[in-house]
């Protein structure tokens, strides 16, 4: 069976033009997808059933027993943490926030180790952005800063920027200037019209230099700024000022390098400065396909995009204190529910060690690094393959993922709904 207009549940590009072939509850071929999409859609290594760690080895358990045990672990905890969420659909995320509210737990998503600093910058100075189609149809200048889309978001350039023809840009490849700013050469820098190589840790200074030039204070600029020559800085500023529509996309190279949220704040303020001359927008290259959805869902329910602490009844937010890494590092958390992510692979060692010490339940289709720290794992359907639901693209456009076949696994939503019901019953509310 052929399914068209399939939405890819891998990266924040959320491409929705895939064509897949499905046979016997398996995806057998993928058209239009990048290598990441093909790998995700065609993989076939799922955990078969819930498993529980017992004296150093894994025992199979029933879904019902696993759900009951999860509810008990969470109810028994003083400081539960519900972490992950970027790899599942919005409806499941919503149950997650309500579960956290009911438990007085902390709920956090993967932004906490990803674009969290970008969010902090946005909370200071705002975010002049746009949808990706606005870039595709209008932009004549594209800037990738600390991002390597060819590796991390393989179709970003062909669908939305460098190679994407649009209404006002009929021949994108010829009419569009692409600037890549990074600390090293990448595959993406190889296709740029202008590659700006910044010394490691020098992004903030380069952003400040560009702001100064755009503001008309170019005479302040020394011969070199963080490894970038004065000539190149002026050239880049000039390209940006003369753009009809410019779009900056930034990645973790800017967000997670020294300066962190201050880098992003500087980049946003550069964008704002450029808007006094022409049209410019800026957007984070969000990683997971629905990490932005977790920010959206958390926000409309609790008021905050991540790191929400319900321990005092109200929603409390203080990144650095209520963020997962900090709670785990302080050894404060005494039970953790991981949904649709892999902190075992991405968190600092001390945090992973703490996860191994406390009861950690993972809801995830696959065996991953977190499995090795967990006490219990519940496999679920993969959203976008055998489950469906809402996802938010990196630019905020919501798209409903498709279910490609009727599988046998329950969805995140079903599992979480049952856990929620048991917790609610136990709480008598």
């Amino acid at each position: 069976m052929k399914v068209e207009d399939v939405v890819c549940p891998f990266c924040g590009c959320l491409c929705d033009d895939l064509v897949v072939e499905v046979e016997n509850n398996r995806v057998t071929s993928v058209e239009n997808g990048c290598t990441l999409a093909n790998e995700k859609l065609m993989e076939d290594h799922r955990l078969k059933n819930p498993i529980r760690r017992e004296r150093g080895s894994w025992k199979d358990v029933s879904y019902d027993a696993a759900i009951q045990e999860t509810a008990e672990i969470l109810l028994d905890a003083d400081r539960p943490l519900l972490y992950g969420w970027s790899g599942t659909h919005g409806e499941a995320q919503s149950v997650g926030v309500h579960l956290a509210e009911l438990l007085g737990a902390v709920i956090d998503n993967t932004s906490t180790v990803c674009h969290g600093p970008s969010i902090l910058a946005i909370q200071e100075v705002g975010h002049p952005g746009c949808t990706l189609g606005q870039v595709k149809n209008r932009a004549d200048v594209i800037v990738y800063w600390g991002a390597n889309p060819i590796d991390a978001h393989p179709r970003h350039m062909s669908r939305y920027t460098t190679y994407a023809d649009g209404f006002f840009v009929k021949d994108a490849f010829k009419e569009r200037k692409v600037i890549v700013i990074d600390v090293r050469k990448t595959e993406s820098s190889a296709v740029a019209n202008e590659f700006v190589k910044v010394d490691q840790g020098g992004d903030y200074a380069v952003l400040s230099a560009l702001r100064a030039i755009v503001r008309g204070k170019g005479d302040l600029i020394p011969v070199k700024v963080a490894g970038v020559t004065r000539e190149q800085l002026f050239r880049v500023a000039d390209i940006c000022k003369n753009a009809k529509f410019g779009a900056i996309f930034f990645g973790l190279g800017l967000t997670m390098s020294p300066g962190k949220n201050k880098n992003i704040r500087n980049a946003i303020e550069l964008t704002e400065e450029l808007n006094r001359h022409t049209k410019f927008t800026i957007s984070p290259m969000r990683g997971h396909w629905n990490v932005y959805g977790s920010n959206e869902v958390f926000t409309w329910i609790s008021g905050y995009p991540y790191a929400v602490d319900f321990a005092r009844g109200i929603a409390f937010y203080n990144p650095g204190e209520t963020t997962s890494v900090d709670i785990l590092r302080r050894g404060e958390c005494d039970a953790c529910l991981v949904v649709a992510s892999d902190p075992g692979a991405h968190f600092p060692r001390a945090c992973a060690e703490h996860l191994a010490r406390i009861p950690t339940v993972q809801i995830d289709p696959h065996v991953n690094a977190t499995t090795h720290l967990a006490t219990l794992q519940i496999p679920v359907a993969v959203t976008g393959i055998d489950a469906e639901g809402t996802a938010y693209r990196m630019d905020g456009v919501p798209i409903r993922t498709r279910k490609l076949y009727e599988g046998t696994y329950p969805s995140d939503l079903e599992i979480l709904g049952k856990i929620y019901a048991r917790v609610k019953e136990a709480k008598g509310s």
Binding site: C130, Q134, W300, I301, G303, Y304, G313, R400
Partner: protein, 566 residues
């Protein structure tokens, strides 16, 4: 079901011609009925003011830009927090509360229906997700067409029927309710960092003017027989001297509909400025009100501002950038491909700012100078002028000259030279307030036909009982009681169920989303139209098949079907 009987109610139901009669209201199966049996649950209203559920005809509560207002403003989230209590979820936020926060606060004030003022079609799914999490109000979505490429092409080709077909397809696809034009043409120009400055300016690249867009859309709206009229946020919002643009826009409106206005102008306070700079800005409410009084084919809402902190958010991207250039606080912008734009900045309206004082006066003047209350609705363009929790204060200001005098002493003393408010004696009565907060909205939106905004048998049993005894109160003097009374109902009844009591929500909500489906003849169905399909193939970044909002997003959708006259 045994039913519910509200006894001894002091009822004002303008659409039914009831003005202050002590009555009983019988309810069964969510509807008002002639009578119920003796087994009905009885609520004794004790002679208190009983009105149809409040309807907000222009408010920003759900969707992409509203949520971004929350996302970027932890300081606002902190400014209004409540813990989980009974069936009530945690809430956060003062000017941009979380969805449950909006829903509970509206419900406590007796509001049972709210229209979201601006939904970008491409992001409609988001609006509907938040509607579902706003459970105590029936929700409707104004759908943005101000920078819609297919519309502008139809306008350029002088093809009204094609414009109508685009509207019909889009409303059905995104489950929208009505046509919204926000700074028509200006949001497209903002795609290049530009704007339009009069209704006769040309939109870059499209060869059309705002006036042509407005006129075409008014015609298209009537061809589709939509319940509401075109709902417009005029060009030049917030610009000194913009009243001329507003008068020009009002001048475009023909009288095409016997049931309601043909053009709804929203937050007119922001569009009634004289002068040429921020230094000589003055009120032109008299000119605007005179134009409204002379033309029954237009209706407006106030767009009142109230002093204090709030967040501005609108599809009018260029306006928000201008505002940012004044305030230098923080600025978000979000252009939406082929359709529209949006912007957000926080603001503080100060009694010490002459400009803000003039704005404050203009909103009240519009309400007091518009003779027919059915033509002027009470709203703040929530949260742009003020959060909706300020409505009771606005009601009190309109009902009491004494309160206005008290306030006028607290504001910048120069204000008097720039506004007529100080010379206006009118005090609105209970009936007029009832019109301006529910009946006029129901009529203007065209939803009386589905039982909204009135209490006649057959109507939806959406009722607000306020702890106010009109026979014992003089609102001109007892304005504190008026404010307190309108802030918290004794009972809010939604579809026959008591949902809130004395300011607390007591049941889980189960709202509906109301949308419009205009049936068009097959030759106007755009699903296979090559030009229309091409927009998705070549310019949108979402496939045509993935664009429409699936039914699952409207668990209790109510569609108003119309037959297009194409």
């Amino acid at each position: 079901m045994t039913g519910l009987l509200v006894k001894n109610a002091y009822v004002i139901d303008p659409l039914s011609g009831v003005n202050g009669e002590i009555m009983d209201i019988a309810i069964r199966d969510g509807k008002i009925v002639e009578e119920v049996g003796s087994g009905a649950v009885v609520i004794d209203a004790g002679g208190c003011l009983t009105l149809p559920g409040g309807i907000d005809s222009h408010s920003h509560v759900c969707g992409t830009k509203v949520n971004f207002g929350r996302y970027m403003s932890p300081e606002d989230m902190r400014a209004g927090r409540t813990a989980r209590k009974g069936v009530m979820h945690v809430t956060s936020g003062y000017s941009v509360p979380t969805t449950f926060g909006n829903s509970y606060r509206y419900s406590s004030m007796g509001y049972t229906t709210v229209l979201e003022g601006a939904m970008a079609p491409l992001e409609a799914r988001h609006t509907h997700e938040e509607f579902t999490a706003t459970p105590h109000q029936d929700m409707l979505a104004n759908t943005l067409f101000d920078g819609n490429w297919s519309i502008m092409e139809a306008v350029r080709d002088k093809d009204v029927k094609r414009a109508a077909a685009v509207v019909a397809w889009t409303l059905a696809a995104v489950k929208g309710f009505a046509i919204k034009l926000t700074n028509p043409g200006g949001t497209e120009a903002w795609g290049w960092g530009e704007d339009v400055h009069s209704i006769r300016d040309e939109v870059p690249h499209f060869g059309v003017t705002p006036a042509e867009i407005i006129e075409t859309m008014i015609q298209a709206n009537e061809l589709l027989n939509l319940p509401h009229s075109v709902h417009i946020h005029c060009n030049n919002l917030g610009v000194p001297g913009n009243y001329q643009t507003t008068l020009d826009t009002i001048g475009l409106a023909p009288d095409l509909n016997r049931e309601r206005q043909s053009l709804y102008l929203t937050h007119v306070q922001f569009h009634s400025y004289g002068g040429s700079t921020w230094k000589d800005i003055c009120s032109k409410s008299e000119e605007v009100a005179r134009a409204v009084n002379a033309r029954p084919q237009v209706a407006i809402d106030m767009g009142q501002i109230m002093f204090g902190r709030t967040t501005t958010m609108t599809a009018d991207g260029p306006m928000e950038f201008k505002l940012y250039m004044l305030h230098h606080n923080k600025w978000s912008n979000h252009d939406v491909e082929l359709e529209t734009g949006s912007g957000i900045i926080p603001v503080y309206y100060s009694r010490k700012s002459l400009v803000n004082c003039v704005m404050w006066a203009i909103g009240l003047e519009l309400a007091l100078l518009t003779k027919n209350p059915w033509q002027c609705m009470l709203a703040t363009d929530n949260p742009n002028g003020a959060p909706f929790v300020k409505y009771p204060e606005i009601i009190a200001l309109l009902m009491s000259r004494k309160l206005r005098e008290y306030e006028m002493k607290a504001i910048d003393p120069r204000t008097e030279h720039f506004v007529p408010l100080f010379a206006i004696d009118r005090e609105l009565d209970w009936y007029e307030i009832a019109v301006m907060t529910r009946a006029a909205q129901a009529k203007a939106l065209g939803i009386t036909r589905i039982g909204k905004g009135h209490l006649a048998p057959g109507a939806e049993a959406d009722i607000a009982i306020y702890p106010l005894k009109p026979d014992e109160l003089d609102p001109a003097v007892d304005y504190q009681q008026v404010m307190a009374g309108f802030a918290k109902t004794s009972y809010t009844i939604k579809r026959g169920r008591v949902v809130a009591r004395d300011g607390e929500v007591i049941v889980e909500g189960a709202n509906s989303t109301i949308w419009t489906r205009a049936e068009v003849p097959p030759e106007f169905d755009l699903n296979k139209d090559p030009e229309f399909v091409k927009k998705f193939e070549q310019y949108y970044t979402v496939r045509m098949r993935n664009y429409p909002v699936q039914d699952i997003y409207l668990p209790r959708g109510v569609s108003i079907r119309t037959e297009a006259s194409l």
